[in-house]
């Protein structure tokens, strides 16, 4: 029996969508404290929790020291050991973690809303009194070295590292993972110094989202963090350099059963007049599942599992990155199809129904992103880190709503042209260098 016997010819019509609901911004409040800390509180009372994000500008900091500072900022204060901090946070269902990237140092967490005051107290204790105890620093140094070693065995990490270096050249964004040797050289005194210089309220933004009355949350933050002092230096990042197309960079990873394909293309910040049209052009290309790229290299040809492309925004610039892990034997054909899809988008207008589909997706996912406390907190914080507020969502939605086929075609030509692409492939050079060279000039390096 054949399975197709199960299916009869269909005649049912797809139901239409109901009317769109208007984007509704949540209640919020904002205050800049005397010490320069900006606090934004947003009400979303769905569950009795509160989400916390503290964004501190951290550009141009020493790579290894910055990574170690994030790793040990919660390792003890003048009044609490690391274990006590963790236990005190747990008591109110809370937790804090720290992370760093070339733009910012971020402390984030969540907990029961009844524990907000306590979480803020502990946060203040860490910000004003982190001690970087020697034994903890030593343990965490070894752990970070191990983690870097594991990361360096991951193809996705190696491909990312090679792409950043190729795209950013001498810019501070070029290297984002420290060498193990640099990490091993970090001493507690250097961390205390870095903390004193860079962990300060000026320019920092604290976001609180949850089952809170925004004004009351601002008061609580002011009460806890008003005493945080210090105005160490602020480092401006130079603008990211423009992309410089050139030969495909092939990074050799002998024995790979897949190749990691990475393509960087120019992009613009969220506030740029082209941004909405670029976002839509990117969706049509490869920014969501129903894109041309996914339909081509996954659903038609079966070359890959999860290809995707996205516009990445950083303080010093934006870039569009397309990424796919493809079977070694189809590396060159996958690149060919990718270049074809980019070229098609850069030289032909999109079909109106493709644009409508991408537009609905962009508008719908704005709604979805705002529908949880954690999503709203991350969005608010990411916006604030780039000088924007939530009301920008409404502006952006309006731009998405009115972008035309011509706007998207123009964005496609301006930003997605394969001639502007920087291409990096990580894989088994013995097997893929030849086929790739048939398509484009190739320069090979070892991983």
């Amino acid at each position: 029996m054949t399975a197709t016997a199960i299916v009869e010819t269909g005649t049912r019509a797809l139901p239409p969508l109901g009317p769109n609901r208007k984007l509704k911004l949540p209640t919020q409040a904002e205050r800049t404290l005397a010490n320069g800390l900006t606090v934004i509180a947003v009400r979303r009372p769905a569950v009795p929790l509160v989400e916390l994000r503290l964004w501190m500008p951290f550009g141009r900091s020493h790579l290894a020291r910055g990574a170690m500072l994030a790793q040990t900022i919660l390792a003890g204060t003048q009044t609490h050991t690391a274990t006590e901090i963790a236990a005190e946070l747990q008591k109110v269902g809370g937790g804090l973690s720290a992370g760093v990237d070339p733009d910012r140092l971020m402390l984030s967490g969540a907990g029961l809303v009844t524990g907000l005051d306590r979480m803020l107290e502990l946060l203040a204790d860490v910000l004003t009194g982190a001690t970087y105890p020697g034994d903890w620093v030593q343990t965490e140094r070894d752990r970070l070295v191990d983690r870097i070693q594991v990361a360096q065995s991951q193809p996705a990490h190696l491909a990312r590292t090679a792409l950043l270096k190729r795209v950013y050249g001498r810019h501070p964004y070029a290297t984002q993972t420290p060498d193990p040797d640099q990490v091993r050289a970090v001493r507690p005194a250097a961390l205390r110094k870095l903390h004193a210089e860079r962990v300060h309220p000026a320019g920092a933004v604290l976001v609180l989202v949850g089952d809170v009355q925004p004004d009351r949350a601002l008061d609580a933050a002011e009460q806890a963090l008003g005493g945080w002092r210090g105005d160490g230096h602020v480092a401006e990042l130079p603008p990211a350099p423009p992309l410089e197309p050139g030969p495909l960079l092939l990074v050799d990873r002998p024995g790979s059963v897949q190749s990691s394909l990475r393509i960087a293309l120019p992009a613009v910040p969220r506030t740029h007049p082209d941004h909405a049209a670029l976002q839509l052009a990117n969706l049509v290309f490869g920014g969501y599942f129903s894109s041309r790229w996914v339909e081509n290299i996954r659903e038609d040809k079966g070359y890959t599992y999860g290809p995707h492309s996205m516009v990445e925004h950083s303080v010093a610039g934006s870039v569009l990155v397309a990424a796919a892990e493809v079977a070694t034997e189809v590396t060159a054909p996958a690149l060919l199809e990718t270049t074809y899809e980019l070229g098609r988008l850069a030289s032909l207008p999109v079909r109106p129904e493709e644009l409508e589909q991408a537009r609905q997706y962009a508008l719908g996912t704005l709604q979805l992103g705002m529908s949880t406390q954690s999503g709203l907190a991350s969005l608010t914080s990411a916006y604030a880190g780039n000088g924007l507020r939530l009301d920008f969502l409404a502006e952006h939605a309006a731009r998405l709503a009115k972008a035309t086929v011509a706007d998207v075609a123009e964005a496609g030509a301006r930003y997605l042209s394969p001639a502007k692409a920087v291409v990096v492939v990580l894989g088994d050079a013995d097997r893929i260098a030849g086929p790739l060279s048939a398509l484009t000039p190739v320069r090979t390096e070892s991983a």
Binding site: I6, G10, T114, Q152, Q154, V257, Q258, Y305
Partner: protein, 436 residues
């Protein structure tokens, strides 16, 4: 500093349940706080049910369910969900397979139409099957073959712990089995397991119950009635002697170890099972937890550590037999035997000396936060409720979990720890082959 115990809050999501004439069970949980909905369809079939010689088939079939159906061409499902502003996915577990969407609330009827259409019959064609076999092979390469620690321990530990094919085999599948799968296999699998009587539909979020009920009747009411197949008994006896094995991962730079112990039946003995869920957190949740304090900070014998219930980390969505797992990554040259000995020692200490002041309460508070956070997303609610309905007939249990976790006593946690003896343990060691 006072050791006041945080009050464990609960959610009060309303729950409406009904069953259509064709046997489809439905759970509705309205919440008008944001204009979004979550839609989940869960079929009571997973990795444990796939036939011998067809490893990876349940997951491959999940892919085929997206390849078109009675009224929908290939690619149409994706386009209609995303073109309505939504996102979608599916996943295959040991005991169930789920399909789901999160959408703006105005797309409710469209989502129901899409799910009903593939419940009536997916387009199982040779071309789609070959295409998705290729895609699944790339998925396995990304997640297992081309990366260090791929499949550790969820694919590598079950064959140590279990003896029968359903419990022990590789749920991602061998390339040989995947390549030899046929359309007839798929049709047979669909007929047997994708019956209306074997499925649960859950809808959460910004819905009107009466309107949603009418729409569900309209779209699912004429899905042909087919009863659920009898679920086989997957029980296996507990281990009576320690089992230990190892393998070399040629990509891994550092050693790793995972150990697991069988736990009580999560469905028929939930009260006996829950203390193990709490125990895993007491042992490993954060810097104040016992094993992190001991192994990471004091002994420095491991660099990271995790503890959880169920091979896929799904404590409330799994049936018997399942396990409590502990896994750790070690520094270069790390001594796996020493780590296992320390685990035994700490479990003994917990069983003998009990917990410290406030240790249990703070762990429970943290667990409550995690539960609440997961249910804040409409889809998290729909998926969890669908599985709780399917496996227990009790979707409202989701509202009760924070409280039930909070009621687990110190005595129960100690008793649970006392059962995690070396002679009941299965463990697997990753020997690094990729050191630089």
């Amino acid at each position: 500093m006072p050791t006041r115990r945080a009050r464990i809050p609960a959610t009060k999501y309303p729950v409406e349940r009904f069953t259509l004439d064709n046997g489809l069970r439905v759970v509705l949980t309205p919440d008008r706080s944001a204009p979004v909905i979550g839609v989940a369809v869960v079929y009571d079939v997973g990795i444990r049910s796939e036939p011998e010689g067809r490893t990876g088939f349940a997951h491959l079939f999940e892919h085929l369910m997206f390849q078109g159906s009675e009224n929908l061409e290939k690619l149409a499902h994706f386009r209609h969900v995303q073109g309505a502003g939504g996102t979608f996915n599916g996943s295959t577990h040991l005991d169930y397979t789920d399909y789901y969407e999160t959408l703006p609330a105005n797309a409710l009827e469209r989502a129901l139409f899409l799910e009903a259409d593939r419940m009536r019959g997916p387009r199982l064609t040779e071309e789609n099957l070959r295409n998705q076999v290729d895609v699944v092979k790339e998925e396995i390469r990304v997640n297992v073959l081309n990366r260090p620690y791929g499949g550790f321990p969820w694919l590598t530990l079950p064959p140590v712990m279990f003896d029968t094919f359903p419990n022990a085999h590789d749920g991602y599948g061998s390339f040989d089995d995947l390549e030899s799968a046929t359309v007839a296999d798929a049709a047979d699998f669909f007929r047997r397991y994708y019956a209306s009587g074997n499925a649960v539909l859950a809808v959460s979020g910004d819905i009107d119950v009466a309107e949603a009920t009418a729409l569900i009747e309209r779209h699912f009411g004429d899905v042909p009635a087919r009863p659920a197949p009898a679920r086989p008994d997957f029980t296996e006896p507990d281990l009576s002697a320690e089992r230990r094995t190892s393998y070399t991962d040629k990509l891994a730079p550092l050693p790793a170890i995972a150990g697991a112990w069988r736990v009580p039946d999560p469905v028929t003995d939930f009260a006996g099972y829950l203390p193990y869920v709490v125990l895993a957190e007491v042992l490993t949740d954060g810097d104040a937890s016992r094993l992190v304090e001991r192994l990471v900070q004091r002994d420095r014998t491991v660099t990271s550590l995790g503890g959880y219930l169920g091979f896929m980390g799904d404590p409330y969505d799994v049936r018997d037999p399942t396990a409590l797992l502990l896994q750790a990554h070690l520094p270069p040259g790390g001594d796996v035997d020493k780590v296992l000995r320390t685990l035994d020692e700490e479990l003994d200490r917990l069983a003998t000396d009990g917990l410290t002041e406030g240790e249990l309460a703070r762990t429970q508070a943290r667990m409550a936060t995690h539960l609440l956070r997961d249910t804040d997303a409409v889809l998290g609610r729909a998926l969890r409720m669908a599985v709780l309905e399917q496996q227990r007939g009790e979707p409202g249990l989701l509202n009760e979990l924070p409280r039930l976790v909070g009621q687990v006593t110190e005595e129960q946690v100690r008793a649970a720890a006392a059962t995690l003896r070396p002679e009941r343990r299965a463990s697997i060691e990753v020997i690094p082959g990729g050191a630089k």
